[in-house]
Each structure stands twice: as C-alpha cells, then as structure tokens.
Symmetry: C2
Subunit: 301 residues, 2 copies
C-alpha cells in the first residue's frame, strides 16, 4: 500500500498533528495523527517527529504542510500573504525547512494576514481550508464561519479571501470556565437537557445584547446563586452567551448566501442553530475534508 504514496498532506496545528499519505490518483492510502503540535515542540524536534510519523513511507515524497508549523515559533516561519489574497497563490509563498536525508521534501504553506490598522488579524491553517472550500463548492461567494478556539469569519469570493476577523470565543469560554469566579458554578454534571435550556437562554441574550457581554457574563454566577441554576445550565448559558455575542455583534457580515460552517460537527451545530435564529441558512462542511481539499488544491496550484 505505502508504495503507492506520491505525497504526504500534513495539518500541523498548535496542539495536534495529522498526516495523510496520498497516491497518484489522489486517494488517501493512510492517515496518522499525533499530539505533537507546535506548542510542545522545539524547532529541532520537527524532523524527527515527522520521520517517526511516516515510518511506512519508503520512497522519496513531497510533504505539504499547513498550519502553525509555519509560525514564527514553529518549524520555519512562512511569512503571511496579505489579504485580500488569491488563495491559489498559497504554494508560491511556501518555505522549505531543512530536513536530514533525502526521503522527505517538506514545504510549509503561509498563513494570511490583514494589516489594516484597527483590523489587524492573522490566520494559519484556515486559509488552506478556505482554499479547499473553494474547490468543494466551486464559485462560492460569501461569508464562511469557522467556529473554534479563535473563530474565523471570512469573506470568500471564489478563491479570493477578501477580509476576515477572529473572535476569541472558544478561548474565553475555557478561561472563564476554568479560572474565573464563574468556575464555582460548574461543579458537577455539565451535560444533559439543562445544558440545552441554558444554551438557549444565553444565546438569546448574547444575540440580543452583544454589547453587554462583560455584564451578561456575570449572570452565570448570579443565576447560580439566586435562581439555583444547575452546573449544566450554567455551562450551556455561558456557551450560548459567547456564541450569541460573537454572531450578534457581527451580523452585518451575514449576507444572503448559505453560510458554510467549517469545524467540529458538535460546535458547528450550535452555530447553525444560532444562525437560524437570525433567519440565516448554513451548512456544515467537514473540517478534515476542507483541509485535505485545500492541501490538494495548493499542491496543484
């Protein structure tokens, strides 16, 4: 099987690493994953981690990498392309880190940045998914939302990324859940029906009053103290409030096109329900499909 592999596609993120062996027909011959993301690696460790992941490959192959391996603190910095950017030019911005031996020829794709003062933003990895989306939905034009630790909202027109914005929704949820005074409201079972009820209440408030987020967040604690809200309700409320504020505060980005959502299915489903409240249609696109389609398109580009 491994003899058929022509190149290796790699998504090297902050906390994960995934690799797929692709044959000449574009079919996946194997896939591997590891927790050796950028955050736990020093620069010198990348070659051996990659070699250790690809032991079944015996011929010389190209390895095309997207994600945080190209960050300043990663393997080798791949300078950002500037938005607006035609994502078909991604591979032209790739950099080639040194790799012992002749078997693997790695290339790391760049991220995209937006330099306008006051709208500065960066992405690494999502640009490849957006290129993939332009291949999966040819000619798509409109808003794409990529929910996650740092959710990305991107305006895509064919293969052109015109502008984008990151929201710290997922990270803020985790910070508040683990470190803030709100943590006292999360001692116990966090799943179940109560979570859905809390989510809906938080979502409605977040969508309606995104400008009051620093104040409405405290309702988690006060709701637990005064109204006997369960930990599951509080967790749902906090999640709904943050997602609602993210969407409610940026609703002017929403157009008439169906919105592709790229991310984990569970999280994307929450966003889909939230968007429905605003009358906006969306569809969930598998994140791995988008990444693979993007790496393939970049290789051909």
């Amino acid at each position: 099987m491994a003899s058929a592999v022509e190149w290796v596609a790699v998504d090297w993120g902050t906390s994960n690493l995934r690799a797929w062996g692709i044959d000449a027909a574009g079919e996946i011959q194997f896939s591997r994953s590891s927790p050796d993301g950028m955050s736990r690696l020093s620069r010198e460790q990348y070659p051996s981690v990659l070699t250790g992941l690809l032991t079944e490959v015996h011929e010389p192959v190209d390895v095309l990498i997207c994600g945080m391996a190209g960050a300043r603190q990663g393997w080798l910095e791949a300078p950002y392309l500037d938005a607006p950017a035609d994502l078909r030019t991604l591979s032209r911005g790739a950099v080639s880190p040194e790799m012992p031996g002749n078997q693997f020829a790695p290339a790391i794709l760049p991220g995209v940045c937006q330099r306008d003062v006051g709208a500065e933003d960066v992405m690494r990895g999502e640009e490849t998914q957006l290129l993939g989306l332009s291949a999966l939905i040819p000619g798509f034009s409109g808003l794409v939302i990529m929910p996650g630790t740092h959710s990305k909202w991107a305006m895509l027109d064919g293969t052109t990324l015109s502008r984008f914005s990151s929201a710290m929704t997922g990270e803020i949820f985790e910070l508040l859940r683990v470190h803030s005074v709100l943590r006292h409201s999360f001692n116990g079972e966090l799943e179940g029906e109560e979570r859905d009820i809390g989510f809906d209440a938080g979502l409605a408030l977040g969508l309606d009053k995104p400008e009051r987020l620093t104040a409405t967040l405290f309702k988690v604690r006060a709701g637990a103290l005064l109204s006997g809200r369960s930990p599951a309700w509080c967790a749902g409320f906090l999640s709904g409030l943050l997602i609602g504020a993210e969407i409610g505060g940026q609703r002017d980005w929403i157009g008439s096109a169906e919105i592709p959502l790229i991310g984990s299915v569970g999280l994307c489903s929450l966003y889909q329900g939230a968007l429905e409240k605003l009358g906006a249609k969306s569809r969930i696109v598998d994140a791995t499909d988008a990444t693979l389609a993007g790496l393939k398109a970049a290789r051909q580009g």
Copy 2:
C-alpha cells in the same frame, strides 16, 4: 487612645480585611489591615483573626462588618436584601456570628441582590459604599459606577438602590493577561507612554464597537504580530478595550447627573477619561471614605 474607641468598622472583602476604631465623636482612632480576606479563611478562623487584629481594644465594643464575610462561603451568611432596596434598612438585615468571650459583638451587614430573571445580580460591600455615598452627597440621584474586578453600575435615588449590574471587566483583563494567547504580547515593560497611547486606541474601539468585543480582543495579538506593538501598548489597548466596551455597552444608563466613581484613584481616572469621551461628567469618590461613611450610616440606621 484605644480607650476612646466606641465601635469598630470592618470591611471584610475577598482578599483583604480592614478595620477602623471609631470614637464617640465619630473620629477614627486607629486603622488596621490584613491580607486575611474571605478567600483564605475557613469559617472557624474568623474570630481569632478579628481578635488578633484588635489587640489594642480592651473594652467591649460593637464590630460592624460589611463585605464578603457575609457570603455563603464566609463567616456567617447574611441573606441579601432585594433590590429595589432602601439602604437605610441594611442594619436590620445584619446577622450576628458567634464570638468567644464578651469583648466583641460582631454584626455582618447583608449584600443586595436583584432577582429578575435575566437580570440576576449580586453585590456585597458595594451596597455599604452606596449608603455612604448617599451620606456624602445628600439627595444624589443617578448613576454610580464602581470600577473594579467586577465593576458595579448602580442607579441610586437618595438612599434607594433601584437597580444595578456587574461587569466582569477587571477579572477578564487579568484572565486574558495571564492565561490567554494574548499573554505572549505582554512580555516586557508594561508601563510608560506607550501604554497611554494603546489605552486610547483600545478605548476608542471599545466605546465604538462594544458588540464586537470577542473579535476586537484578538487585535491585541494581531497588533503585536503585525504592527510591532510593544507590551506596554498591548496592555493599555486591552485595558482600554475592556473599559470602553463596559461603558459603551451600557451608555443608556448614563443620565445628566455627574457620575460618582468609587474605587481606586488610578482606575477611576481611566473611567473618568473614558466617560469624558461620551461627554459625561464624573467625580472620583475615595473608596475608603465611602465605606466608612456607609458603615457609620448603617450603625445609625
């Protein structure tokens, strides 16, 4: 000197404890402070901490306490009064914890809560400062802002607290500075002129777009990466952004009356500057003055 002490005023907060010996004329005879706030004490430790703080008092005295000592996880729970509340009734809601010996007769004032579903909120300690404010500025009616870890916005009409809201501004600043991806932007000198410039930029954005807070927060990181913003600039920007969002998102609370600001002078000065941008006048009221005036008024009430 200590022989003149008639009663002891105590502000027992989450992370600090302060006590003042007051004579029959209402003058302060001594003041003491300690880091033995609620967060580091078990219920059993309160009596000995109090006794240890008041070694120079030899006669039997009343001890009137406000703050977190009356929380469920404090010395003895003092159930909340419900807003709207006439703060002159605070002392009627006081509870008396057990205290060995006959020297000290402690009473803990209640906090105030707001039970309306969706607007649930709580305070403990600030209600005493608000009662104090009503004594320092007799007949005052309007908005009072109390900047801090959990900033309080309160509508006061004479001695009546009609409604209030807590914003987690200070706590979110600390969480993001210490634990989030933004922390990478704060390695270095955080004070100086650059901080003021960053603060003004963040403040303008926060006031203008409070609904985009989850997205604008990421500009701290992107500004450092793309525009070479210094740690001091980033710290100022983050502070300005959060204070701006707190104020901008609640600007409908602002009326025509001069706004008393109760809190640390440094923090209140930042709020004062921010309010000026909206054309709102404010004046800084010393937090200790407000607390002491409140405890005195509660004792007389």
